[in-house]
Symmetry: C2
Subunit: 210 residues, 2 copies
Amino acid sequence: MLSIEQLKILFPDWEQGLYESVLENAELKEANAGAVLLKRGQNIKSAMLVVEGTIKLYQEDEEGGEYFMYHLNPGEACAVTLVCNYHHEQSQVLAKAVTDIKFLAIPITFMEKWLNTYKSWHYFVIKTYRSRYEELLKTIHEVAFKNMDERLEYYIKKQVDQFGVTVKLTHQDIANDLNTSREVISRLLKKMEHNGWIKMNRNAFDWIKK
Amino acid sequence: MLSIEQLKILFPDWEQGLYESVLENAELKEANAGAVLLKRGQNIKSAMLVVEGTIKLYQEDEEGGEYFMYHLNPGEACAVTLVCNYHHEQSQVLAKAVTDIKFLAIPITFMEKWLNTYKSWHYFVIKTYRSRYEELLKTIHEVAFKNMDERLEYYIKKQVDQFGVTVKLTHQDIANDLNTSREVISRLLKKMEHNGWIKMNRNAFDWIKK
DNA sequence: AGGGTGGTGTGATAAATATCACAGTTTAAA
DNA sequence: TTTAAACTGTGATATTTATCACACCACCCT
């Protein structure tokens, strides 16, 4: 398990009692890069707080399509799993580990309790929803208004923000995340290379622009 | 101003003190159908709680495009205006009155105060974010995975849920809300009519399917 | 070294959507 | 009643994206 000191670094604004309650009731879990942590329609039995590594959140189609929405990093929580009412606890999203990860799994029975007990938990939940809400707005902005070339650029920038200028993804990976086909991505990347925005390698490329 | 009794009907789960604080500090405002209540980039100076009528929330493009996301009805609040931290209070959305409306405008200075004072306000904020978050997920699902014909059907169903089977919108209205062109909507509606899903009139049509 | 696999490049074509042009039709206003 | 404005229908065409087909190349495996 984690120490209180580690928790305090990850979640600096919590109350003392909340740290203790987390240590007491949460389970520290691990998963390997690539693992699916949550699927569309799956029942949510615990909240997920990221401790180590990065998670990618997707909107998932009935027919297997995926659309990447945002990353979750240490100190952040998966908004959908922070259910406050036990009724409709079906996941609307797909969550995948990008790297090897560690996360705290907190049984949802504590959600209601903590909302009543810890102000800092309340704030944490609100902050989480608010920031994820904003990410979703950005995603809608992209997908509702932009063509694939601009969406690809936006996607790469998010990737670069997370992992640096060397993007270690195949064209197929990117195509899956943007719900399009590899050929489209290949051609657009080629165009970016011609424009001097990227330098391509096998299985990866470097973002140069700006 | 409203009476406490009216407030209790609209927001049944609040604490007594919250009702009083709202009556004391909120301003009851009105707007006509079609009025723009909030624009992209606009500074948010007050939270909006719907009292009467219906508001439509849009994602707005820099170049004037719009994409309809969801309706707000009496008893509901605009999530984006429930800012808890005063820093980045720029609106990401466009809000329009669909009907004549009344709403409570609450200066954002009270947000922080009420979060500290009223548990029911805390719950209200979380509930608001949660339900809007889910609406956004549905919107992403439509726009990322569906073709225009399915998106149009989904759009009409939302309209029908709000205002009944007679849809009083021009093709241009719908095209604006779905960020496409009137011709596309006209042709798709024609197809729906052939399929017996709708019965078309001028400036309106009836939803028949199912 | 040879062969398989996965990643990439690219033409050809199809499908979905956007855009332009214009005609017809209903409604509202003069 | 005439006229203008708004709404609708529809062809033609352009653009964007999806799909199919296949060639090539780098790397790993034995």
